[in-house]
Subunit: 256 residues, 2 copies
């Protein structure tokens, strides 16, 4: 049996330190192919490029494995990689390591996780990794052991159809990481604030800013795990149906 | 009690026929404020604009209600509308009417639905409307009665916290619409095909295309309802956790 084929992508761009570390970690587990955006795509959600054509360029960064820089979104990268680069499904898709948290409600805005969800939609065992540190020179080595263990486990055991993993790593020293906790997405939201300014021509513009607001204190959530220095693992699915509400809604007279 | 305040947005851009019809339908139910993208934003998923500033311009299209054109995504429009235009939560948020289906797995790629989901995240009763017809001159009048009935019901009864509605309308004559069905998101995916071309300078580029593949024949899904000429109503939530897998995943030795 040959080495497993591992597709690596992200949303911070192909040259971001987070993906460069992830590539190195994965080279110890299998044969790596990189298809990642040519520029940062943070906050892209599950965007796809349909109005513009997509460019794909072969690049060499370090090592002899195949790498491509793509003009599209993280989801475009996955679609193109499977259809035009690999011409098969990889044995594992890993996305990240994201610079910053994708825990809790951040999953919905996350380009990193959109790539992993797209992988799950194509029946590829997929994992999104994020480190709770936005800085360019964040310490990605502290979580290396956990990234490799989780990826290795998924390579060995696979994942159920339609489910990927959202893995977040606390921004602490390796010796302070307490282990791994399987948990659920915490209930939270972003409270928006807009920074309202005027440009040199006197025209208004706005910067989106905001404050993260956690709405619960349960010990079963990813936010709880992370705040206690555990690596959080949340299984993620893409059926958005609020199944519990269907019986109630059927009683409404929606067409009267 | 004054008229309810209804925020209208979409992802096809503020001048698209779908939103122009939706504005007219809502003017019969309440006081309308429009904040919608200045250009098409289809396929944007739950994207937000964080790297660039956002512009907001007051425009007049038809009638005396307030309208704004926004340089951001549909999610940006909702955030800006609540925080900088209305300075309060509207009584109802409606997004659409989208040109084309947002049933089944399309919900995850949909800018129309991302606006409605953002509304639900901010505890605003929110509905996304879509018509299964991509054409510029699609017949949006056929579904008028249903759009108004569903919006009127939600205005009257509200929606549970964290849940919005995904409403799709079949592309048939009004007299052929069979009524409304509350249902769940059908299991389906897009099978990608990339149209590979060379530009005039000989460089490769790709157009994303694809084929919709339905994976089930249940009569409980939105696709079933629509193919039988019913308006489909799916309650949508934003907890992505695959709760059912948590006990199983806890048995894995993820940190060993």
């Amino acid at each position: 049996m040959g080495k497993p084929v591992i597709l690596v992508t992200n949303d911070d761009g192909v040259m971001a330190p987070g993906i460069r570390h992830l590539v190195k970690f994965m080279l110890e587990l299998g044969e790596v192919v990189v298809v990642a955006p040519d520029k940062p795509q943070s906050g892209m959600g599950h965007a796809v490029t349909i109005v513009n054509p997509i460019r794909l360029e072969k690049i060499t960064v370090d090592g002899g494995h195949q790498e491509f820089s793509c003009s599209g979104t993280p989801v475009d990268c996955v679609k193109l990689a499977v259809n035009k680069v690999l011409n098969r499904k990889p044995d594992l898709l890993v996305s990240g390591i994201n610079h910053g948290s994708n825990a809790s409600i951040n999953v919905i805005y996350s380009g990193t996780m959109s790539a992993a969800i797209e992988g799950a939609m194509e029946d590829i065992p997929s994992i999104g990794f994020s480190l709770l540190d936005y800085r360019f020179d964040a310490d990605f080595m502290a979580g290396k052991k956990y990234v490799q263990q989780i990826a290795g486990n998924v390579l060995k055991q696979g994942l159920p159809k339609g489910i990927c993993l959202n893995v977040n790593i606390p921004a602490v020293k390796e010796s302070d990481i307490q282990g791994v906790k399987v948990c659920r997405q915490a209930r939270a939201n972003w409270e928006e604030e807009f920074d309202h300014r005027k440009d040199p021509r006197g025209k208004d513009y706005y910067w989106l800013t905001g404050r993260f607001r956690l709405h619960e204190n349960s010990n079963e959530t990813d936010e709880y795990a992370l705040s206690n220095n555990y690596v959080s693992v949340v299984p993620i699915q893409f059926d958005f149906t609020a199944h519990g509400l269907i019986p109630e809604l059927k009683k409404w007279k929606l067409d009267a």
